[in-house]
């Protein structure tokens, strides 16, 4: 089975973990489709939106250190002997994976490149909203790990929304269709909440779980094992990026649960 990943970050710990999880299940990744956007691009975007103060905030955020609490990503990397700080180019070199640098994941040329490689499954390891032409390029489709239960919690920041709404946190693997998190669902994996958990560490734990859950589903597809598919739905509302005050509330909710 020919499998590819999408990526937009120069350093992409999730893609690095995914490649490793898939290799452990004898599913080699054929290529990484990378449309890297540099730090300058991020700064320009902030400047346009929030002016000078916004750009400064982006620089401060970038310079910020790790938060206290568990560090599941670092632990997962150490268990597997992975260096998650490596750029995708180096990761691809180490794992004999082709790195296809593209201008944009939305372009026709990118979709053509995916089709030309007879790709069966493309996995979302970064890229935001995808154009239909890319969704239709791999023969089986584009897979995503969504950090909450679907179809109930569509949208972004859904891990935090799960906490706010008292829903069990977890990861849903689903095919991406033209809607927002409305594609066919392959499965849900619950996420355990550790003691001393913070929002950051829970998100990291969800990243580790996402890589595992998606690799399991791809392995199943490769072995032609039956998958349990559930329809997605756009009948439920979409959740949007959280305001910092509600993020704080989600963090407080997490502390209450841990206590």
């Amino acid at each position: 089975m020919i499998v590819g990943l999408t990526s937009v970050a120069r350093v992409n710990p999730y893609a690095t973990l995914l490649i490793d999880e898939l290799r452990r299940r004898q599913v080699p990744v054929d290529f990484v489709l990378s449309a890297e956007r540099g730090h300058t691009g991020d700064l320009w975007e902030r400047w346009k939106r929030r002016g000078f103060a916004g750009a400064l905030e982006a620089i401060r955020r970038r310079a910020g250190g790790n938060s206290p609490g568990p560090q599941p990503l670092a632990e997962a990397a150490s268990e597997r002997g992975l260096d998650l700080s490596l750029p995708m180019a180096a990761v691809c070199k180490r794992t004999s994976t082709r790195l296809l640098l593209v201008q944009s994941l939305a372009s026709r040329e990118t979709a053509d490149a995916v089709r030309a490689r007879s790709t069966e499954v493309l996995i979302n390891a970064g890229g935001g909203l995808f154009r239909r032409r890319l969704l239709e390029a791999p023969s089986r489709g584009l897979l995503n790990a969504h950090m909450a239960r679907l179809p109930a919690l569509r949208g972004v920041d859904v891990l935090e929304w799960s906490l706010l709404l008292g829903e069990a946190p977890g990861v849903t693997v689903h095919w991406i269709d033209g809607g927002v998190d409305t594609g066919v669902i392959l499965g849900f994996s619950p996420l355990e909440v550790a003691t001393d958990e913070t929002l950051e560490s829970l998100r990291e734990r969800a990243v580790v779980l996402s890589a595992r859950a998606i690799a399991e589903q791809v392995a199943r597809l490769q072995q032609a094992e039956g998958t349990v598919e559930t329809s997605g739905s756009n009948a439920v509302p979409q959740y949007f990026a959280l305001h910092p005050r509600l993020r704080q509330r989600a963090a407080a909710r997490l502390m209450e649960n841990v206590d």
Binding site: E45, W47, K48, R49, R50, G51, F52, A53, G54, G128, L129, G155, V156, D157, W161, L164, L165, G166, P237, Q238, Y239, F240, A241, L242, H243, R245, L246
Partner: protein, 402 residues
């Protein structure tokens, strides 16, 4: 001709003559937003600005606002009326009676200038022509004062106004006379709301009947996508978010006060409109995790921006307030309530980012501009009192929801 030129020249000199003006223009040119501070600081600054707008008029009414061209504007009966509710709420919040006194001064001034037939004078300053919408807005203030003080003069003034509204209402429930441009407007849903308050306080069913008739007319203007025709000041123009918010808020507050089919339809339409606004706002951003761009100043019937060169900050504060009201009413359903709250907080941050709390200029400090950038079409180079009022209302409503 010469006097017009001189007046223009004076206006230009006034704009150019203040460092405070230049600072705001430079800030907006550079997209250098004001810092987001503690909620209390923003609220206090807005309230102090509203108090100044009352003090400069010297009559109890609130100056319509501060204009870079014309300085402090004449008192505005319409918006003085609904600012009363803001003073009262702040008085309750701070337990400071001076705000209650301000509300009383404003309410008494409104009674002093109420027209003999019961209507409220249109426009800024003291004009002879009554206007339907303005009458409804002042009634909201009088009714709030009546509830706060139990002084019957406020109820009597509201009843005279309500009686006049009934006299000039059309058979189909709309108002065509004594309206802006002599056309019916969907934002008259905000006139149905005070009529329902008067009906409840007076136990007179004719006011309820008139309000329901108006609501049915507004609901009749709705398209399947939740858009309501006739939300703009002028027929054929795309409405500002300011009058869009007026329309849905009127439907919402009226719907809450009516336990029948008309009320249910009004609420349903208000929710649909509020949700379309939320999606318009939240989906307009460079990527899903980014903060949304500002809402466009005007929208068309497909909910598409038709003037995205500027944002109507007044309308943004009102829309945030509408979402907060929904969050409040939906409090028992966290999935819905928190979704409204989340978007309202983000939109309010964008309003805060236009409020200069530290300016030394009395017309600017704590005020909220009509538009962002300040030279946008909606009330160009002006800080209207109703922008500060709705902003303060929204900040106080936030406390009730969080």
């Amino acid at each position: 001709m010469t006097s017009a030129l001189l007046s223009r020249l004076r206006g230009t000199l006034r704009i150019a003559g203040s460092l405070g003006h230049w600072r705001v223009v430079a800030r907006d040119l550079l997209h250098n937003n004001e810092p987001l501070l503690d909620e209390d600081i923003h609220l206090r600054a807005a309230m102090d600005w509203l108090a100044r707008s009352q003090d400069v008029s010297g009559c109890g009414g609130l100056s319509a606002g501060y204009s870079f061209r014309r300085g402090w504007l004449p008192p505005y009966p319409e918006t003085t009326g609904y600012a009363i509710t803001t003073f009262l709420r702040y008085a309750q919040r701070t337990d400071d009676n001076s705000w209650l006194e301000r509300a009383v001064r404003a309410g008494d001034w409104e009674i002093d200038i109420q027209l003999p037939e019961g209507g409220v004078r249109g426009g800024q300053g003291i004009n002879d022509e009554p206007v339907v919408f303005n009458t409804g807005q002042v009634m909201l203030g009088w009714m709030a004062l009546y509830r706060a003080t139990t002084e019957s003069r406020y109820l009597q003034a509201a009843l005279r106004a309500a009686q006049w509204l009934l006299q000039v209402q059309e058979r189909d429930g709309s108002w065509r006379q004594h309206t802006y441009e002599d056309t019916p407007h969907a934002y008259h849903s905000r006139v149905a709301w005070p009529l329902l308050e008067v009906a409840e306080a007076s136990a007179e069913s004719k006011y309820r009947t008139a309000a329901e008739s108006q609501l049915r007319w507004v609901i009749g203007q709705a398209l399947p996508n939740g858009w309501v025709d006739g939300m703009s000041f002028r027929r054929g123009d795309d409405p500002y978010t300011h009058t869009i918010a007026y329309t849905y808020r009127g439907l919402f507050e009226s719907g809450l006060r009516l336990a029948n089919d008309t009320g249910a339809s009004a609420l349903k339409l208000a929710r649909l409109g509020a949700d379309r606004l939320l999606r318009r706002y939240e989906l307009n951003k460079p990527h899903p995790h980014a903060e949304p761009w500002s809402l466009a100043a005007t929208l068309d019937w497909r909910w598409q921006p038709s003037d995205d060169g500027s944002s109507c900050i007044t309308g943004n504060a009102q829309i945030a307030l509408l979402w907060l009201r929904l969050a409040h009413v939906d409090k028992q359903q966290p999935a819905s309530s928190l979704r409204w709250l989340n978007s309202a907080l983000k939109l309010l941050d964008q309003v805060k980012a236009t409020q200069s709390v530290g300016s030394r200029h009395a017309g600017i400090r704590g005020g909220v501009p009509g538009s962002n950038p300040i030279w946008g079409w909606y009330l160009r180079l002006t800080y209207p009192n109703w922008a500060a009022k709705f902003f303060a209302d929204a900040l106080m409503e936030t406390e009730g929801v969080l």
